[in-house]
């Protein structure tokens, strides 16, 4: 009896708290399906009368949103795939192979993890300009091809795997590449998932670098597009909120589908990193 009463107390505390966290997002979805008349008055309606898809129609009809969505998808997908590939290759070499300069290179890579972005952003802009990539998706892709975080995470994971199977395969004449792809990586699912999840989240959500590297609106990512769209259409709130829903939805869906992986990725990278 007392046990049940104390659980009820916790529910009374936690349910409103949890709802308070969700409320802004609920309002985001509600306002995206309101009519302009419901939004643009004071006080605004708190619940839409029927579902108005005018905002979504506006966003998909005459704005560049589909293009921006595609750009974001391209940049994030390339970042995920290349971080998995180059992170695993680099991490494997650092974990298992002996070669001159490996300690120095690993140390330098770890040191770059604490370099703040604003220190590198001006020269990175100049490098991208020199490569002729400014104002193209390439300028967004190249700096995110591989992060020290991915290399280091793979290295730590590979170090925790037993060596015996690899060594047997290696002595049998398998190349390092074969060993990595057919023996090690199938065992490295958790590391692959962690790198994929965190890379996607970072790449999809970034604003500051696209803001610096991109001028032309055909090359905008969704985040950059959304801010300029808001600046230009600040009275068309239902359309702005519809665009906002489209921007948030992919990461939200990804999160809800792979919640456990997501949380494990964050805590493992957090506690160990």
């Amino acid at each position: 009896m007392t046990a049940r009463r104390s659980t009820l107390g916790w529910h009374l505390l936690l349910a409103p708290l949890a709802l308070a966290f969700a409320l802004p997002l609920v309002w985001l979805v509600l306002s995206s399906v309101m009519s302009d008349a419901e939004i643009n008055r004071f006080p605004p309606a708190l619940w839409p009368h029927g579902i108005h898809l005018g905002g979504y129609r506006y966003v998909f009809g005459n704005a560049m949103f589909p293009r921006w969505f595609l750009n974001s998808l391209i940049v994030s997908t390339v970042a995920v795939v290349s971080n998995l590939l180059f992170g695993a290759l680099g991490g494997y070499a650092f974990a298992r192979m002996r070669f001159g300069g490996s300690r120095l290179m690993l140390g330098l890579m770890l040191a770059t993890m604490v370099v703040p972005f604003q220190l590198t952003m001006i020269p990175t802009f100049l490098v991208m300009k020199w490569l002729g990539l400014i104002d193209t998706l390439g300028a967004l892709i190249v700096p995110s091809l591989v992060t020290p975080f991915a290399v280091f995470l793979f290295r730590q994971f590979f170090l925790s795997l037993p060596r015996e199977m690899e060594e047997a395969a290696w002595i049998d004449g398998c190349s390092r590449l074969r060993v990595l792809f057919s023996i090690v990586l199938p065992l490295a699912r958790p590391a692959l998932a962690t790198v994929a999840v965190l890379t996607f989240l970072t790449a999809w959500n970034d604003l500051s670098w696209p803001l610096i590297a991109i001028n032309h609106d055909t090359q905008y990512t969704l985040q950059l597009g959304l801010t300029t769209f808001q600046g230009q259409h600040h009275t068309k709130w239902s359309a702005v909120m519809a665009g906002n829903v489209i921007t948030v939805l992919p990461v939200l869906v990804a999160f809800l589908l792979a919640q456990k992986t997501f949380i494990q990725s964050l805590t493992s990278s957090g506690i160990k990193g």
Partner: protein, 320 residues
Amino acid sequence: MSSIPRALTLAPQAPAVQASARRAARRRARRERATAWAFIGPSVLVILGLSIVPVIWSLLLSFRADDLVTPGRWVGLDNYRALAQDPNFRTAVGNTLLYTALYVPLSLVGGLALALALNRRIRFIGIYRTLVFIPFVVSATAQGVLFSFILDPDFGVANALLHHLGVAKQGFLSDPNQALYLLVLISLWNSIGFCVVVYLAALQDVPPELVESARLDGANRRQILRHVTLPALTPVTVFLVLWQIITALQVFDLIYVTTKGGPLDSTTVVVYFVWQQAFQLFTAGYGAASAYVLAVALLVAGGALHLVRRRQGRTEGATR
């Protein structure tokens, strides 16, 4: 690693055979080295090329007057001297420190409190945890756009709710006395879930025997929290302090989307100042100098925290 194949060929043999075996081993080591460098090549190129090189380049830039378009010239320490005099930079530093001083402790205390509340097995606990965490995956852009709408002085739902409660309309993000505090709140909404998740994971690792024996010794809940749970969480707390300081000192996206440093420079932070100098006013050398000041501050903060952690470890060892 490379010793294993060599060990296999070390049977007593004629010197000629031994020599050829040694040659083969050397060839193998050379191939191994080439493979390794091929493996780390892409990472070295991207990470060092776009990190170590820019760090040095930035330092050189900070001693120059440069607009990124026309050739610049060497000005020595002039940029740093000018920064020390620049009232806008001082405002940016002040705003950044205020933001950090509010954001870091609030996110840690709030995160810990929520984690302690969520650390129990009751119905719906999964849903509660999910809802607290969900804002973390929302981008700063989306947060900024959403809260600009909620806090819009004329049509926003926040003022509508205040209106129902009989409170006068507020300026919110357009009020220089409120804007920075509201940005702290928005950031907390987004990032407290991260602290909660990290603390929740760490709470699973607090040895239950320790809690149990403290209870048997007659400790009450608050005493257990203070003398058993919190000390066990110290490493995670240190990590979170460091992480949140780094995050807070680098805040930019949210401010760009919501206030653009305004109103009246009340939300101009250091990174915003750097960005403005380099990419709006085309004084890249000056921007690089201000970025360096921030980076050194970050380094000092990190170093100080590292020292605190070391000293803590030592005193713990001494009392044991």
